[in-house]
């Protein structure tokens, strides 16, 4: 709570380096051209204040993220975070299992669509 904004931004940058490849991070920066302030919030708040916290590992955080994205049908972001989930150590089997567990909470359409995208990401790895 006494961190200044540089600290928050730097913490967010470090997390993003663990989650995303350089290529993905460069792609994300297109947002910076439209709105530097949104970019700053993504890095400082989204990754710096939230992901960089203790108590849960990045692996656990990606499980939460994947579940929320599937539940709200945010399939473009799901693609990016499926790769991030693999990068921080979730296995394909665990991701498949997470999607199957979601059937009971979101129904088949979202689970099946998520599994199709997971299949594509798995092929690239």
């Amino acid at each position: 709570m006494t961190m200044d904004n540089n600290t928050r931004y730097n913490a967010g940058t470090r997390v993003m380096e663990e989650l995303f490849s350089e290529e993905v991070r460069t792609g994300m920066q297109e947002i910076k051209n439209i709105s530097p302030d949104l970019w700053d919030m993504i890095v400082s708040f989204g990754f710096g204040d939230l992901y960089a916290r203790k108590t849960l590992s990045l692996e656990q955080r990606e499980m939460i993220t994947l579940t929320s994205l599937i539940t709200q049908g945010a399939f473009d972001q799901l693609r990016v975070h499926l790769q991030a989930a693999l990068n921080v150590g979730l296995t394909k089997e665990e991701i498949i299992e997470l999607i199957i567990h979601c059937i009971g909470y979101v129904g088949f359409p979202k689970a099946v669509q998520a599994m199709g995208i997971a299949g594509e990401i798995f092929k690239e790895n």
Copy 2:
């Protein structure tokens, strides 16, 4: 996949005993009076086919469940699963952390409402 339906129902019953107190399980059975078939699906499919699977622990499954319930705003069910999460070993700190992580994916209104309910459940424990 060669399990018969008794096996599925029994597997579901065992999981429910780990997740829920006897009182909660008795309360859930009111659904059985309205629709015995829905009850059977809850136990055999919901808990027997989904929760009883391997690869993820019950602790991890409750993290997924909590996240999906928060994301879809299903706060009545959240109450029951917050208690289940504590029962299978998630700590208060981890649950608070999960809710905070969700801010970035669902916004403040759902996160704050979830935290308020978590506070009530924590008091009872």
Copy 3:
């Protein structure tokens, strides 16, 4: 399409008399005190333009309505339309069946909550 607005309002009023008891219709009119224009749109557009159309029966329309309300988690309105569904001829068995079918599309939390409310409405009938 050449109907004037009185015709639309009257068509809506007639449908509402088929769907809802006098008590329910009186309760609904509280909206009229806050916004007469919203009330007019509910009657003229919601019931006059939509429900009073041909091609689907009121029974079929209530099946659609119940499904949409369950899917979006609009449980207060679900209560009113469960009674309307019974009033226009859907049986308890058909309503239970509709809710069970929804499991595959919305997951258990919303289906179970809907079934609990259906149980309450069935008791009053």
Copy 4:
């Protein structure tokens, strides 16, 4: 409830043959390559336990399915089920009517998007 899992899978397969063309069913099986267990649940639970039940016809079940998909904005799945709805006997007029009825429950954006997709499916028939 005493059905074993082969019976459930076979019941699901028979329903899927009524709903979907061979081409669509073959396409669906890609899911099987990613997760044979998800495929088994789609067939045995989704179609075997849910669609193969009595009390509602396949025509009525597709009305429920279309409505839930429109309400949750699951437009990829809507495409497949619009064709299924035609296959089991819903007419174009009834489908158009269902979408129009939904305006009152989901607003114009989802209804208009659904109608656009329905127009594409109708052209192919």
Copy 5:
């Protein structure tokens, strides 16, 4: 409330001319070929009864529309209404600001997706 249906349709047409380019309006009319009745409701109710009302300006109405579309993840319609918002006088800065404000209510995934689309629309202007 004593308007007849021609008046409503004409009022809707006038609003649509303020919001959308001729090209967009022509594209929208494809819906008319599939369902003339849906088209009539879009014009007479959606634009005639709702947008043509007093008390809020078209600029304010587009702020409401953009927010609802972002919140429900209706990104195809968002594209059209981002252009409409510019047409009736919202500035790029105000639109960016609206999207940033939404972070707190819908989370990052929908806000970032909206900002990406806004960037594309801004480039065309």
Copy 6:
């Protein structure tokens, strides 16, 4: 972007004093007892980083907030923000108009529920 965290917290506090009565702000602080970190994020990010920005007035920000809450069915938070909207200068007529405009984007159930709550808040003022 060079603000330190005290500045952000203080900016958030000032906005909250404009939006909410002392009683409401005291009630909100219950969250602080459960999770001081969530409270800090609500104040520093939610109100300090988002609401305290320029380009849009608090009146416009509350229009966006109300619309997002109605669209996602967050009716508990809607209650608090309807009062906040009145506090920063939106009139009852404008709020009613906003809810009516939403019909076209979210359908009647959410709009009617919002109007009912608005009626209650208006009575208290």
